[in-house]
């Protein structure tokens, strides 16, 4: 009996021995108990959890990433097959890869949500400017991880994404060509390219991220969590610190009074990612990365689709400026935010320009993403046929014209009754808009973005095609 009682005390004994010898009370616990403003006890505290949720997902990315690296072979001749094995052969492989995939999307969303909250709450202002700057670097690192991660998929999309990235890098003035060969690690996408992206994705950027997270958290604790903003109470660099000290004097310990909210939201975030991965699994890979297969339709993951749309929609003349200038501008702006507006009003209701600075880019990017999903500028390359409702009951020469519509690739850019591409105008009712001469002229000479077909159609073919189109009323 006495022995049992002694045994029951053992765990506590071990814990206190470890705690004492490792000085947990003075290190970890002291940090966790750092005081935070009392207002965080109220529901407004729910706004303060996004950073922790991001951290939770990040840890999940590290763990699942290490797991994937145990099986993934970063060599161009094997990467695709090893990923197919992970996705379809390995026990739970699809779930682990799925978690890493959905986790990447969650990282992008959460980092942006966290930044938006910090921006709208004015929490980047004095004395927390460096928190914002390290956070901005973490945003860039997150995007770089998302992009390099997609390339490691090493399917056809990944291959052409690298080519597109290299060509974009090449647009930079002076160092462009040099940058491009740095991206592909040599003269062409080849044996050296994948290992370099792999090392970047699993060593270089993560090392930077670990360091930055450490610095970011250090600053969060050292500068203290910002109090919820109140309209009319402004940040004044001379008085802020004293005011904040006084606030903390009647503050609450972060652990456990505020941390429980972080724990709930972080758990929810990880759980959502897990459930998505368990239901949908890892995304299917595209075709193998065969550079000689020209039937490609490369596109990035959803959070980069808006940028993909930019590349299709901007006027060619300004393109190089946009490709180089836009990211540079966004980058510089991000870093200037805390330096240009370190004091003054914090509450969003008193900062209409700040609301616009969040809402406008968001709306713009959302509509670009929609455009990117639909990508009407992409020609329909992989063939198809006109619906039976169009071709049925056509007599010659209309029937020949309908065949030409498909075989001469009109179909790639124009739709009839929603079959076909959407690059050019829909031709379902073209016969009621244009007469014979107008249609013939337009096909023969092109214009308005349309190529001229005079060289690839015989006069009688042109005639048949026009006759067919005239029946589309």
């Amino acid at each position: 009996m006495r022995l049992l009682r002694a045994l029951a005390k053992l765990p506590r004994g071990v814990a206190s021995w470890l705690g004492e010898r490792f000085e947990f009370e003075d290190s970890v616990m002291a940090v966790l108990r750092h005081p935070v403003p009392r207002e965080l006890e109220r529901p407004v505290g729910w706004w303060y959890v996004l950073g922790s949720a991001t951290l939770g997902i990040f840890v999940m990315q590290v763990v699942t990433g290490v797991g994937l690296a145990m099986t993934y072979v970063p060599a161009p001749n094997s990467a695709y097959d090893s990923l197919q094995f992970i996705s379809h052969g390995a026990t739970l492989g699809s779930v682990v890869r799925g978690m890493h995939y959905f986790g990447a999307g969650a990282m992008v969303i959460l980092v942006l949500a966290h930044m938006t909250q910090v921006y709208l709450f004015g929490a980047f202002k004095f004395p927390r400017e460096a928190n914002w700057l390290t956070g901005s670097l973490l945003l860039l690192a997150t995007l770089a991880m998302a992009f390099t991660g997609q390339l490691l998929r090493w399917d056809q999309d990944a291959f052409w994404s690298i080519v597109v990235a290299a060509e974009q890098a090449a647009r930079a003035p002076v160092i462009g060509g040099w940058l491009a060969s740095l991206v592909v690690a040599g003269a062409n996408v080849g044996g050296a390219t994948l290992t370099r992206f792999y090392a970047t994705h699993v060593f270089l950027i993560p090392a930077a991220v670990f360091g930055l997270i450490g610095l970011h958290l250090y600053l969060v604790v050292k500068r203290g969590i910002s109090e919820p903003p109140v309209p009319g109470i402004v940040v004044d660099r001379r008085t802020y610190r004293a005011r904040y000290e006084a606030m903390l004097a009647r503050g609450i310990p972060f652990w456990p009074d505020a941390a429980w909210r972080d724990a709930i939201v972080a758990t929810a975030a990880v759980a959502v990612v897990f459930v998505l991965a368990a239901i949908f699994g890892a995304p299917e890979l595209g075709k193998p990365p065969d550079p000689t297969n020209v039937l490609a339709d490369p596109r990035p993951d959803w959070y980069f689709l808006g940028y993909f749309a930019v590349l299709a929609l901007i006027p060619p003349a300004t393109e190089s400026i946009v490709i180089v200038g836009l990211p540079l501008f966004a980058f510089v702006f991000l870093f200037l935010v805390p330096l240009l507006w370190p004091d003054g009003e914090r509450h969003w209701s008193r900062r209409p320009a700040a609301i616009a600075a969040v809402a406008l880019p968001f709306i713009a990017y959302a509509s670009l993403t929609v455009a990117g999903i639909e990508s009407p500028w992409v020609p329909k390359l992989e063939g198809g046929t006109l619906p039976a409702s169009v071709t049925q009951g056509l007599a010659e020469p209309e029937r020949r014209g309908a065949d030409l519509f498909v075989s001469k690739a009109c179909f790639a850019c124009h739709a009839i009754q929603s079959a076909g591409g959407r690059r050019g105008p829909d031709l379902t009712h073209v016969g009621s808009r244009l007469n014979r001469d107008q249609i013939t002229a337009r096909i023969a000479t092109g214009g308005g973005g349309m190529p001229a077909f005079a060289g690839s159609l015989t006069p009688s073919e042109l005639d048949d095609l026009t006759t067919f189109l005239l029946t589309r009323k």
């Binding site: 052409w160 044996g191 050296a192 297969n293 690839s456």
Partner: protein, 166 residues
């Protein structure tokens, strides 16, 4: 030697030695990583096939293989090209196009019926001679130098990025 200058000396020594360590470790690594940038770009002439493979007036996809790829390069050692046979013989006999769109490098696709190259990425279009027919491409398709040797067609290898050439 007073205490202060001694301290100053020791701190400088320590900082200096740290810098030395960084240099010893850093220089070889940096050299190792950027060396590929300065290696001569590939420009061998490689065979793409017999002349008789290319019927007059047609445009065909061919692939060439990097003659000295890394052993693990797999399919990435291959490059595809569009070869257009223009004339029976002479300096106008062939046009050899990079498959990379001049916009941002996606692979253009030849539509034999329409006699057009279409780009899947942002909708660039080119005529059969490589000139721009529509879309974002800023210039005509890049062409490669070619040579006929005996009954074989040879083309010159070329590095990325294509934008900086031609």
């Amino acid at each position: 030697m007073n205490e202060l200058s001694r301290r100053k000396f020791l701190s400088r020594l320590t900082v200096g030695l740290t810098a030395a360590i960084s240099a010893i470790v850093g220089l070889p690594i940096v050299g190792y990583l950027v060396a590929p940038l300065f290696s001569a770009p590939p420009d061998d002439l490689v065979p793409v096939g017999a002349i008789t493979d290319f019927p007059l007036g047609e445009t065909k996809l061919v692939s060439i293989r990097d003659p000295s790829p890394l052993a693990w390069a797999g399919q990435t050692a291959d490059t595809a090209l569009w070869v257009r046979r223009r004339e029976q013989s002479g300096p106008q006999m062939f046009q050899v196009f990079n498959i990379n769109c001049t916009h941002l490098g996606c692979p253009v696709n030849w539509q034999a019926g329409a006699k057009l190259f279409l780009c899947p990425c942002h909708g660039g279009v080119y005529y059969s001679d490589g000139s721009v027919a529509g879309g974002p491409p800023p210039r005509r398709l890049f062409e490669r130098e070619w040579q006929v040797s005996g009954d074989r067609l040879l083309v010159r290898q070329q590095p990325l990025p294509t934008v900086k050439q031609g």
